[in-house]
């Protein structure tokens, strides 16, 4: 058998932007790459680290306000690299805090303007209300998306991005419209934790297929279920999803 081909996954700011279990997204991508016969190479990038040469997939998570303050300057510093990757179709998943900072700006409750990296055409406003609870949303691209939101920043999409999904339970981007998340090129932005990818493998597989296609110009190999347990991962995922749709907000 041939050596597994490497796929380089860049995890942005795991030290300061990690607080809601978004590490699960990195784990799911690594495992599903392995199960398809690729070798995931995870690069953790924290402020002032060297930006890796090869990047096939980028993920970023949520943090608290204090974490966002710590990384914001550095994010602007590497902004050009991220713009180039985004424009060339690199798949990215940005959750909560980094989803906000991938937009143009975040206006705090005190009226302070925090500049975002401006890859996604969206703006966020800090509010006194926290949107907290289970979310069910409908996406034409990925089907039903399940997760958990916990944010006081409310996000409004500009014409340059599409909503990721339409919320059927919960709030999503803001308390006014019914949109959740954003889509632009191969970027998925979302407020949803849970972690997002374990119960929404359609999104994980989109990110993986795109990364493999970009890097090796091939369709990704079929997934071989890990040996061992009697219950295949698809079945466990389906049952976990069924439970999630039935839980209270």
């Amino acid at each position: 058998m041939a050596e597994p081909k490497p796929i380089h996954v860049l995890q942005l700011y795991p030290r300061d932007m990690n607080i809601y279990g978004d590490f699960g997204n990195a784990l799911v991508l690594q495992r599903r790459l392995q199960w398809r016969g690729y070798e995931p190479i995870l690069h953790s990038y924290d402020p002032e680290d060297e930006f890796p040469e090869q990047v096939d997939l980028v993920i970023g998570g949520g943090g608290q306000d204090s974490g966002q303050d710590k990384i914001q300057q550095d994010l602007l510093r590497i902004g050009d690299r991220l713009h180039t990757l985004a424009q060339s179709g690199t798949p990215m998943l940005m959750i909560c805090g980094l989803y906000q900072l991938f937009g143009h700006s975040f206006r705090t409750r005190e009226g302070r303007e925090i500049k975002g990296v401006g890859i996604l055409d969206l703006r966020t406003e800090g509010t006194d209300t926290r949107l907290i609870g289970n979310v069910v949303a409908e996406s034409t691209e990925f089907g039903e998306i399940l997760g958990y939101e916990n944010h006081s920043g409310q996000t409004y999409l500009g014409p340059g991005v599409q909503p990721l999904a339409r919320v059927t339970k919960g709030e999503g981007n803001n308390a006014k419209d019914s949109y959740e998340g954003a889509r632009f090129k191969n970027i998925v932005g979302s407020y949803l934790h849970g972690s997002l990818l374990p119960k929404n493998p359609a999104i994980a597989d989109f990110l993986i297929a795109t990364a493999v296609q970009n890097r090796y110009a091939e369709a990704s190999q079929p997934q071989i279920d890990p040996a061992g347990s009697a219950q295949p991962i698809d079945e466990l995922t389906r049952k976990a999803r069924t439970t999630a749709t039935r839980r209270p907000r």
């Binding site: 795991p14 030290r15 990690n18 607080i19 809601y20 279990g21 978004d22 590490f23 699960g24 784990l27 799911v28 495992r31 924290d46 608290q64 306000d65 204090s66 926290r130 907290i132 609870g133 289970n134 958990y148 916990n150 006081s152 934790h193 849970g194 972690s195 374990p198 119960k199 890990p226 061992g228 347990s229 219950q231 991962i233 466990l236 995922t237 049952k239 976990a240 069924t242 439970t243 999630a244 839980r247 209270p248 907000r249």
Partner: protein
């Protein structure tokens, strides 16, 4: 209830303490007749009629009030502080009913207080939930406060971990004499910088133990530099078989403990520190250690039962740090493991935290049973860590029966969230004597 809350505020004061006590007791009797638990409602009634009742009653205690707060370990630590003080010959009032909110405290007082409004106690030790503690300390300024930690389990109630740290800071700032802080928790340690008049003492860990107690921050970035750590009055030096070795005021003391687990041993250091602070020179160190060794776990926290002749441990897990520590405190070897995860309100609805725990230590032995409302979330989590499991059964009762039947000869351990533990305990009552809650 709206009619009661619109009653004139002066009524209670006019009635005096005796009036408030009688009204509160009447409310409790009514609540109990209607089948309620009799805890918060009478407290609410008295609070509305006589808002100063709480402060007046507690301030009469000769040695004042100690408050215990933090996200993890409050209940067991409060129990330790109470029993340490009792071992020093003091009469202690505490909010043992389990409703650790202001109204619960008022309700507890109503049970114990005389009609004159005096409590038959020397000192009060109160366990306070962070959010309600802020309201409480503005009404009743504690003499001492013990602040344990800020961990992630209650984020979906308070929003952010820094908000919770802010609540603990408010408690410290409203404390009259002195506070005890956890030296190892950066958010708690930083509270010292915001205090002007209060004395600050610390409890802490030896350098070798720090890696054993990862904080939420350490999980992703490695422990912080220890160089700037202040001196701690009580240090947990090492975990021994069934106990721990502490350095107390420069002296090394080893003791066995009835409570189990690394976490509770660290809580013991916290309890020792606040009792030493509250009693000062008068403390009897020998009696202190003797009392400590006898403290039994608070309800449901790290309980060891015997079921059909085999030992069964219930390990409460409610956040990533606690789960990681639970996994590293107890070896999985030779043990049948079950995990039960609920997501009811008291557990927290967000399942994200399971993804911040590594389960690799269970890989070799595997897991016999996965249960609870979110059994399939947990099973999926194990699958992604290459941990095998025999069965998934969301129904706790069925799962427990099957788990016990299929693993008759080995010690058993169940990691469970709060409401899963309540349900399992109830069910275990059919097999063994389980202390009533």
């Amino acid at each position: 209830m709206s009619r009661i809350s619109s009653a004139p505020r002066t009524l209670g004061t006019a009635l005096g303490s005796a009036g408030s006590v009688l009204i509160g007791r009447a409310a409790r009797a009514v609540t109990k007749l209607r089948g309620g638990g009799g805890s918060a409602f009478p407290g609410l009634v008295v609070e509305k009629l006589d808002p100063n009742f709480l402060a007046r009653t507690l301030h009469r205690l000769p040695r004042g009030v100690i408050v215990v707060s933090g996200t993890n370990g409050k209940t067991t630590t409060t129990k330790m502080v109470v029993e340490l003080l009792q071992g020093q010959g003091l009469r202690v009032f505490t909010n043992r009913s389990g409703s650790n909110f202001t109204r619960g405290v008022v309700a507890s007082i109503l049970e114990d207080v005389r009609l004159t409004g005096t409590l038959d106690a020397d000192i009060a030790v109160l366990e306070l939930d962070e959010a309600h503690a802020v309201h409480f300390v503005k009404a009743v300024r504690p003499n001492h406060s013990l602040l344990l930690n800020v961990m992630r389990d209650q984020l979906d109630r308070f929003g952010e971990i820094d908000t919770t740290a802010g609540m603990l800071r408010t408690i410290a700032q409203h404390t009259v004499e002195a506070v005890v802080l956890n030296r190892e928790d950066p958010r708690v340690r930083a509270i010292a910088e915001t205090l002007d008049t209060q004395r600050v003492d610390y409890f802490g860990l030896s350098e070798s133990l720090r890696g054993h107690f990862p904080s939420d921050d350490d999980f992703h970035s490695g422990p912080a530099d220890a160089a700037d750590h202040p001196h701690a009055d009580v240090v947990l030096e090492e975990l021994t078989e069934g106990g721990g070795r502490f350095t107390i005021d420069g002296e090394s003391v080893s003791t066995s403990l009835t409570v189990n687990g690394a976490y509770n041993t660290f809580n013991a250091a916290a309890a020792l520190a606040v009792v030493r602070q509250a009693l000062g020179e008068t403390v009897d160190p020998r009696a202190l250690i003797e009392s400590l060794s006898k403290v039994s776990p608070a309800f449901g926290r790290g309980e060891s039962l015997t079921v059909q002749g085999r030992p069964l441990d219930l390990v409460l897990v409610k956040n990533p740090s606690g789960f990681r520590l639970g996994l590293s405190s107890f070896s999985a070897e030779g043990v049948a493991t079950m995990i039960a995860i609920n997501d009811n309100y008291a557990d927290g609805r967000d399942m994200s935290w399971l993804w911040d725990v590594e389960f690799a230590s269970l890989a070799e032995q595997g897991v016999r049973m996965v249960s609870g409302v979110r059994a399939y979330d947990m099973a999926l989590r194990l699958k992604y860590d290459d941990v095998d499991f025999d069965a998934v059964e969301p129904d706790l009762s069925l799962a427990l029966t099957r788990f016990l039947d299929e693993n008759p000869d080995r010690p058993a351990r169940i990691f469970c969230t709060y409401t899963a533990m309540l349900a399992l305990r109830k069910r275990l009552g059919a097999y063994t004597e389980v202390e009533a809650f």
